[in-house]
Each structure stands twice: as C-alpha cells, then as structure tokens.
Subunit: 145 residues, 2 copies
C-alpha cells in the first residue's frame, strides 16, 4: 500500500535511508508504547532510546552492513529504517509487532529504568530476528567490492 516510499531494494540501502529512519522513529515509539501499555494494563507512551535499538541490532546478522564502529545514533536509525521498510511494504503489521514485543516485555510498574533498558533491548532484538528473513539482499555491487 505504501511501497512507493521505499526507494531501495537492498538491505544496506534501507539501513542508511534517513527518511525511513525518521518515519520508523514514530513507528517504533508507537509499537513500544502500545506493547508497554498492554503489559501494564494502563495506557502510556514512551520514546525508545537509540541505545536500546543499538543494542538490539548489534547482535544480529544485518549489523555488518552499517560497520562495526557506528555510534548508537546510527545503529538506532538503521533499526528504525528497517522497521519502516517492513511496515510500508506490508511485511509487518503494527498488531504483529506489538504482539511480539509484548511477549518478551517482562516488566511491571516497579521496574527500574535501567532494567527496562535491558528488557526492551532484548524484546527489540527478538522483533528484528523475527523479521530478518523478510529483508532484501545486500546490494550486489557492494558485494563484489
């Protein structure tokens, strides 16, 4: 439905797309806010920090495409761009993403910020692993170099 906004057909192109990262930022915040609300049974909102998403992506196979010395901002943007790609192309729905996040979000109203960072990083890691086979191939020309 919104495929026209995806201008890349390679995973590395997607991960470096700043526009997709911006759109993915509000997508990731909404999915996490809803998952957390459902776990706590109380509506709330949350801005997911770059370092949470950076931790989530660093232990996946796609991390190699953005280089091993990137800062949390770049790694977080890459994560957000991937989620925007998956959603815009219909490979993921908000309902499904929220369900997956929720399953591993073992928190309650007493959970500290620090513990929530740990738990949410792991939840976002599982979310990305779930969809990793839905991502396009690496750019062939880059592959050759």
């Amino acid at each position: 439905m919104w495929n026209s906004l995806v201008k890349h057909d390679s995973v590395d192109g997607v991960m470096r797309d700043k526009g997709l990262a911006k759109l993915g930022d509000s997508l990731v915040n909404l999915c996490y806010s809803l998952a957390k609300s459902l776990v706590l049974d109380s509506a709330t909102g949350e801005k997911v920090r770059d370092r949470v998403l950076a931790r989530a992506i660093r232990t996946t196979s796609v991390y190699q495409y953005i280089g091993h010395r990137t800062d949390a901002g770049v790694a977080g943007d890459a994560y957000e761009a991937i989620m925007a790609y998956l959603w815009l192309t219909g490979k993921a729905t908000i309902e499904e993403m929220v369900t997956i996040l929720r399953e591993s979000l073992d928190i309650d109203t007493q959970t500290s910020r620090k513990a929530e960072v740990e738990v949410s990083s792991e939840a976002f890691h599982k979310l990305l692993e779930y969809y990793i086979d839905c991502l396009p191939e690496m750019n062939a020309s880059r592959n050759k170099t």
Copy 2:
C-alpha cells in the same frame, strides 16, 4: 482488540486521560509523518506540535469539555487522547486517519514551517470533525451540575 486500555466511557474522561494522551502522541506523530511522506513522495518523520493540535481542537464542539482557557499543552493532550481512544476502540484505523490527513495536506518541499502549521492545523481539524460523532457522551453526572 485494545479496548481494555480505555478506562472511560465519557468524552470528558477520555480528554483528561494523561495515559491516552501519551499513547496518542506517538499515534498522531506516526499518522502525520506517513501522510506528509505520501504527499511529498519521500519518507520523513515529524513531531506534531501541541499548538497545531490545540488550534485543531479549539474550533470543535468537544473543546468545551476542557475549558476555554486551557493552554496549548492541555488542548494538545486532549486531542491526542481522543485519537488514542478512537484507535484503541477500533473506531479509527491508521490507514483511514492517514488518508483523511493527506487529503487536506496541501504542502510541498518548499512550504515554510509557518505555512505548514496553518495547513496541518486545518488537516487535524478535519480529522477530528470526521470522527466527532464516534466519541462517547459527556459524563452524565457532570452534565447535571
């Protein structure tokens, strides 16, 4: 599907719910980001300012329920809470909200920030008017006072 997060059955209760406002914040940002992306044919992200939503709600019939002297923050929160209510109860979908916003979003890459505030306020006004009959009644006990 997510009805359990709505703890109010009156429009004034919804509009004052801080949790719904937090969840609605990321919902409104995502819908606007996607609508703007589609209009510009380029993925982007945007945080919708309180004053945009405040302008959008001030000329609607529900504004009376939060008082006529509220600041932009309170009015914006009320707008966001309403959108969260509509979405959580299945009365509105993201696809539909984006379609409605997009129709009145007459902007391009040259549009100034100031002009975008005007245009987006009007788009959010139309969005709320579209759903206004889907909102619950005012709290009966308040009505009597």
